[in-house]
């Protein structure tokens, strides 16, 4: 069974690289440029996408909407990553506007658990 493919969109390259290194059981593609995120997703065909909400060129919500327009991406689960949520909202499995998100800073285990939950692996 091939590794699950995870697209990680976040402008903080230190984070994306370290997360990829700590989760070697997944095939993780980093994308630090928000404007290239949709194109990267179309090429990479991920099983799941993590999307930073606040990035310099575009916000995660807009990118998610564009991804939903793509027939090949519309069923791919998207989980947001955000630094700006309250304590209540930060509990795992929380939703904002119907979308699941993780509050930064996230631990390796939180991300792993989240992927397993969504992909059933």
């Amino acid at each position: 069974m091939s590794k699950k493919r995870i697209l990680l969109v976040d402008d903080e390259s230190g984070f994306t690289r370290l997360l990829r290194l700590t989760l070697p059981s997944y095939e993780i593609r980093e994308e630090n440029n928000a404007l290239k995120a949709v194109q990267a997703a179309k090429e990479f065909k991920p099983d799941m996408i993590f999307l930073d909400v606040i990035m310099p060129d575009a916000d995660g919500g807009t990118i998610a909407a564009q991804m939903r327009e793509e027939p090949t991406l519309k069923n791919v689960p998207i989980v947001f990553l955000t630094a700006i949520v309250s304590k209540d909202e930060a509990r795992s499995g929380s939703q904002i506007g119907g979308c699941e998100f993780l509050a930064k800073p996230v631990s390796r285990d939180q991300v792993d658990e989240c992927i397993r939950r969504h992909l059933g692996c």
Binding site: F15, T22, A83, I84, S86, K104, P105, S107
Partner: protein, 658 residues
């Protein structure tokens, strides 16, 4: 005529005729005729001027005046004293001429016997007297009609004026009353009024009964109206037959206008008094001392006490002023009186039913003609509702300002969170990467990594608290029981409590009224307070959690003018629910007690708290328009209490949301 003698002046130059006449009259009058004689007309005139004669017998053949010339010369006396002329011959022409000139009668010498003569003398005197009386009577009547301001008229049966006085003529626009004669009311008044007046006259003509003092509104063709008080009487001829009407009417337009004005003014006053729910009073002074107070109708409504109760108890007004306000109000009254300045004050008052109301009390001095103050006229208005509206407005404004501040500080916090949490993210994942690597086999390395992970958690906690503190958030208000929220909060931290060896005692009130709260936020408050209590008892102790319902006391409720920026939360007598969390720890140093709600102020050792917990807690309670206090308990430890407004039975949930 029988008792008094008749004085006769006999003007006769013939002594024989004089003697004859004296004899004739003496016989007939039984001595009650006194005769004096004058032989010339000049002498006669002189004697008449002296007065005292009832009648003159004048011979027309005098030496100094012949014929009617003699009469001419006595003319000026004719109206007062009747003159009977004597002619010597049958000269009817002279006699007729004499009568035309004013002689009362004439007799022919030698033709008259004493009886006839006497009768004619008496008749002449009587006729003159009657004429004089009549003339006097007429003179008086004319004077009355000329001068009376009332309008007087005489009308025939057809309603035509046969005589009017100048006052009436002037009403109709004429200088000469004669110009009115022959006209009727229809010539001067509107048809409506003329018809009504005519009907009244017909009534008088038919029944003979007068109409007395009838108020009439007179409408003229040009539309202007006057008011008159009119009396109409029947005008009768000698035979007693009604031949017309007499009317007297008085112009009462001014009176009537004044009356109408007065009535409408009175009605306005009554309406005004009815509509004024305020308490109007007058303090009456004499030589600077209060002698009495008049209490208006609003007294009972505003104070709950009747005017009689105020009269019986001179100090009642003083006592009903809310105790905290009393001194200030009394001082203001005294200084207003002393400095002669207007007095106006808003203060609280304890009504008879115990309710505390806000009133505005103002009075102005009333002065007499010499400028001395004789009374103070005052008005006391209940402004509680207005005051409450003001407070609500102020609280709303404060909330808005707070929201505005939160919005900007929220943005700042979000920026900080973003900039700090992303690096923390890198460090966190980096540390975990390191802990997976072979380097972590070294225990020292493991310890370093763990320190780094702890530091990340701590830094993240500070930023998270900052976010929670500063982010504007809608509260999801629901009616909830504080008991349930407290129990849930205790469950959250039970692990910490038992770990520290702390005993928990709960006294949760039965049938506690619910409160409107954002349950998550209030849970957070209780978690914060209980966590603080646990941190204060690191070596164990007792945590007591109590809830109860109570009434807000007046002393406890914030003063309305205290400038409390968070607005008014409670009113005296309002039902509230209080939750208390008490520990048996070390307490807060008194000098630090005043600062515990400040951001980043903490009494805990580094790493134990962010310094934002109580700040966030207070903000949450503020948003709920509640009250939080943290005090040292006299027997040691700290007592934290949270007070929120209780939901009354039947409260509308939506309406009562803060």
């Amino acid at each position: 005529m029988s008792g008094t003698p008749i004085h006769v002046l006999l003007v006769e130059d013939n002594p024989g005729d004089v003697a004859l006449l004296k004899i004739l009259l003496a016989e007939e009058s039984e001595g009650r005729v006194v005769i004096e004689t004058a032989s010339r007309i000049s002498e006669a005139a002189k004697r008449l001027n002296a007065g005292g004669f009832d009648v003159v017998l004048l011979d027309l053949t005098l030496p100094d005046a012949r014929g009617t010339e003699a009469l001419d010369r006595l003319q000026e006396h004719v109206s007062r004293v009747p003159i009977i002329v004597q002619t010597g011959m049958d000269d009817d022409d002279v006699a007729v001429k004499a009568m035309q000139l004013g002689a009362q009668d004439y007799i022919t010498k030698g033709r008259s016997d004493g009886r006839l003569l006497m009768r004619r003398i008496r008749q002449a005197i009587e006729r003159t007297r009657m004429a004089r009386d009549l003339a006097e009577h007429r003179r008086r009547l004319d004077a009355l009609l000329e001068n009376i301001p009332d309008r007087v008229y005489f009308k025939n049966r057809a309603g035509e004026f046969i005589q009017v006085n100048p006052s009436l003529a002037r009403l109709y626009g004429f200088d000469d009353p004669r110009q009115v004669l022959g006209k009727t009311d229809a010539d001067f008044f509107s048809a409506e009024h003329a018809v009504q007046a005519r009907a009244d006259e017909d009534d008088v003509l038919r029944t003979g009964r007068p109409i007395v003092g009838k108020m009439e509104k007179e409408t003229f063709p040009d539309g202007h109206t006057t008011w008159a008080l009119t009396t109409k009487m029947p005008l009768k001829n000698e035979a007693g037959e009604i031949i017309g009407t007499i009317g007297v009417s008085r112009d009462i337009t001014e009176l009537k206008t004044a009356e109408i004005a007065l009535r409408s003014s009175e009605e306005r006053y009554v309406r005004l008094l009815d509509s004024v729910k305020d308490y109007v009073y007058s303090v009456v002074l004499d030589k600077g001392r209060v002698v009495s107070t008049q209490h208006g109708a609003g007294c009972l409504a505003v104070t709950g006490y009747s005017p009689e109760e105020f009269e019986k108890d001179a100090m009642l007004w003083h006592r009903i002023i809310f105790p905290e306000d009393r001194d200030a109000v009394v001082n203001m009254v005294l200084s207003a009186v002393k400095d002669d300045t207007p007095f106006e004050v808003e203060h609280r008052l304890v009504r008879k039913d115990g309710e505390i109301r806000w009133i505005r009390n103002k009075h102005v001095p009333r002065r007499n003609a010499s400028g001395r103050i004789v009374a103070y006229d005052g008005l006391m208005s209940d402004i509680t509702e207005k005051k409450r509206a003001d407070e609500d407005l102020r609280a709303a404004q404060a909330q808005l300002m707070q929201a505005e501040k939160l919005h900007s500080s929220g943005q700042l916090a979000a920026g900080v969170a973003h900039e700090v949490k992303n690096p923390l993210q890198v460090i966190l994942i980096g540390s975990q990467f390191l802990s997976d690597s072979p380097l972590a086999a070294d225990p020292q390395m493991r310890a370093v990594i763990q320190e780094m992970l702890d530091a990340v958690q701590r830094a993240n906690g500070v930023v998270q608290d900052l976010l929670d503190f500063a982010s504007p958030r809608e509260l999801g208000m629901q009616p909830r029981s504080l008991n349930a929220l407290l129990e849930k909060a205790i469950r959250f931290v039970r692990h910490d409590i038992t770990k520290a060896g702390i005993q928990i005692v709960t006294h949760l009130a039965d049938r506690l009224p619910e409160v409107f709260v954002d349950a998550t936020k209030i849970e957070q408050v209780f978690v914060n307070l209980i966590t603080n209590a646990c941190h204060a008892m690191p070596h164990g102790g007792k945590l007591t959690v109590t809830t109860r319902e109570r009434m807000m006391s007046a002393a406890e409720s914030p003063r309305h003018d205290s400038g409390d920026r968070s607005g008014i939360r409670f009113r005296p007598g309002e039902a509230v629910v209080t939750a208390e969390i008490r520990d048996t720890g070390t307490g807060v140093p008194p000098e630090k007690l005043g600062r515990i709600f400040e951001p980043f102020f903490t009494t805990k050792s580094t790493g134990k708290g962010t310094g934002l917990g109580l700040c966030v807690t207070q903000k949450i309670i503020d948003l709920h328009r509640g009250k939080i206090s943290i005090e040292n308990h006299p027997e040691g430890g700290v007592i934290a209490s949270v007070t929120l407004k209780a939901i009354k039975q039947g409260d509308n949930a939506r309406k009562e949301r803060p």
